[in-house]
């Protein structure tokens, strides 16, 4: 059984729920344990390119590390300055270090949960499941899908317009006013093209009988089966256990406006 085969809506709601709960917890141990658990689940039960995962994870890691450092460097004066923890050859007030580590681990926990979803879910299937399970209006959903196809086209078009302007002798603007003008010049043909393309696509969709109402069948049918419920049960139980461990160790803390 793979994460990829789960119902995308169930998966998305579970992730959202977990993120919501994690946002209220404020101690280093809970997010740390859960982080490791989520990475483990992703790698054990997900089918995806593992190298890409590292690539996507690294910016989050750098961001979390930056957060750790800035929180430490700009921390408020601790209420218990005598409690010190030594890390390698630095010494930090225990309280500051806890806050900093909690914050950055929390960011990482959010990140791995999102990556779990992104790496094991087909974008199209997600949108289709949103229509079928969460009653997203088809008009909106198919619009999103069509837009998804457009993004690479817009990028190519932008490059073409820029090249075209360059050879007309449009030089790099130096003043702010000039820069605004330059962006306007680029934006108008880009938007004109995008609107025309969007209209053509809309006409094509309608000529294939698309009306936007829910009265349609589905080639990819998404249903919620018993095994889909295993995922939220499994994930929330694990979070409960992690919280229990952290309570037992005496670290557990609910967010209370501290920073």
């Amino acid at each position: 059984m793979y994460l990829n085969d789960l119902n995308p809506s169930v998966k998305a709601l579970t992730i959202a729920g977990l993120v919501f709960i994690l946002a209220f917890l404020f101690d280093p141990i809970t997010p740390f344990l859960y982080l490791i658990f989520v990475i483990g689940v992703t790698f054990l039960f997900g089918r995806f390119n593992k190298k890409h995962y590292l690539l996507y994870f690294s910016p989050f890691f750098i961001f979390a590390f930056g957060m750790l450092w800035t929180t430490l460097a700009f921390a408020d004066a601790p209420s218990n300055p005598e409690q010190i923890i030594a890390v390698l050859w630095w010494e930090f007030p225990r309280e500051d270090l806890f806050i900093a580590v909690s914050l950055s681990l929390r960011v990482l926990a959010f990140a791995v949960l999102s990556l779990l979803f992104i790496f094991t879910t087909d974008m199209v299937h997600f949108v289709l499941s949103l229509i079928q399970q969460l009653k997203l209006p088809p008009k909106l959903a198919y619009g999103v899908l069509a837009g998804y196809r457009f993004l690479p086209m817009l990028k190519t078009e932008f490059q073409q317009i820029r090249a075209a302007h360059r050879i007309r002798g449009v030089s790099q603007a130096k003043t702010i006013q000039g820069k605004v003008g330059q962006w306007k010049r680029l934006a108008i043909p880009l938007l004109a093209g995008a609107i025309r393309k969007a209209e053509r696509t809309a006409v094509a969709m309608e000529s294939k009988g698309f009306t936007g109402n829910r009265n349609r069948t589905y080639f990819h049918q998404f249903t919620v089966t018993k095994k889909d419920w295993l995922f939220p049960i499994f994930m929330f139980t694990a979070l409960g256990l992690v919280i229990l461990v952290s309570v037992k160790l005496g670290y557990f803390n609910i967010y209370d406006g501290e920073l």
Binding site: Y148, R149, G169, R200, T211
Partner: protein
Amino acid sequence: MNEPIIMTKHLSVSYEEVEEPALNDINLSIEKGSTWLILGPSGAGKSTFIHCLNGLFPRELDGEMSGHVYVNGKDTRDYHPGEISRHIGIVFQDPDTQFCMLTVEDEIAFGLENLSTPLEKMEELITESLKLVGLEHYRKSDISTLSGGEKQKLALACVLAMKPDVLILDEPTSNLDPCTAEIFTQILHRLKAQLGITLIVIEHKIEEWTELVQHSAILNQNGELFYQGTLRDGVTEHASSLKKLGVWLPYATREALKTASPLSKLPMTIDELSFKPEIVHPSDGYRGQQLLQTDNLSWHASKQKILDSVHLDIFQNEFVAIVGPNGSGKTTLSLLLAGIHSPNRGSIHLKGRPLGEWREDNLRNVIGYVFQNPEHQFITDSVFEEVAYSLKLTNKEENEVREVVFQTLKEYNLEGLENRNPFQLSQGQKRRLSVAAMTVMDQELLILDEPTFGQDWNTTERLMDVLQDKNSKGKTIVMITHDMELVDRFATRVLVMEKGKVKIDKKPDKLWKQGDLSRYHLNLPPRIQAERMRLPYVSK
């Protein structure tokens, strides 16, 4: 006599912002199982007409529609939204913007889902329609990986799966190279024989449709129905008016029109041509000094080789045509030659100096480049400013600039439009303006990426006149095109590209003698076809 499957009665459409109606009192009756060509110059309301047929007017689009359209005897206003798609299917012109899903089978399924087709039936219909167009091996493919021709076949499959009574094709082959276009029309021939479907083709070129189509309706510039009847009578009896309208007449008709007396019967296809067509091929002319030289030129995008070690010399006063299949690297080569992209490997020398060492503004005074999409090049708010832009950069006197601009506008048939916004011009005007704005600096080398794409006869002729005039004054022209007739009439040299390499580099008349043109997705220009057909008689 079959009953009409589509009938329009006093159909008129007008848009709010425009005074003249787009369609004016159209009364047309199309029989079940017949094949029609709807002809008209660009801007004659052909697209508006299709939108009326499938019920987008008056329901979805802005604009006033009066009169009636009957599909299968029922007024389109009385159909439920989406219901007409069971009767009328449309393949559009642009292969990229008519899809909304990511894979081939999902796209076909999309139409079937809209019709609430049960899942078990969908499988069968998808398989069947892919087989009809010959795409059965692409079922799971990503649409973005398909070529232009394959995308058009997919668009056709999507519509066929929905089993419409009428198939409408809106300039379906205008984005395709000659060979791919021919394959596409062959599929239509087969479909017609197999399914007996009613076929309506919207076009401004007649040539490739003469075999398939029996009837035609011709719209004029004012959106009026100028003719309806058999295609042959339409073409041969109204040839000179059609030519004036800007419709691309078949080659044979055009040639005969030059010499024929007003009373003689005009031919429509090449084999009916009763005389040897005149050769309008340019004289070899003199070839000047070496202008541009490339050495081992290569370019790749994300590991995919687009251009593979190209060695090329371009001389002054040449008229070079670059031809070849879609995706063979023609545009990339032209962008590199113009110094817009830099090569990954290899070098380009302009007048003996590496391209990279040229200052941008000096380079632009020597090389001009016209993009395929004219809108991309517009940078000002008025036609006058557009042409004046480059001139003003050179610190010319105001009076002198005005004089040159008006002279140029006249040359390109754009007089009286100088205060209009470039984006509000018609297709043909936009194209002419983009070339005018680019050539106003009188560059020595002009590179054009499919300048005649989507243009009607009048704009194409005007454009080619200007280019030939420049060429005769010593300028060098490099032009990408799919139109072998233009190659035959204007080029002094032709480069055939395939898979990122320049495979053939010769004079056009030598190229026509080559046996394997279809390998490069090329066809023979009509003049040569006509000559070949006459050959046995000539030799007698």
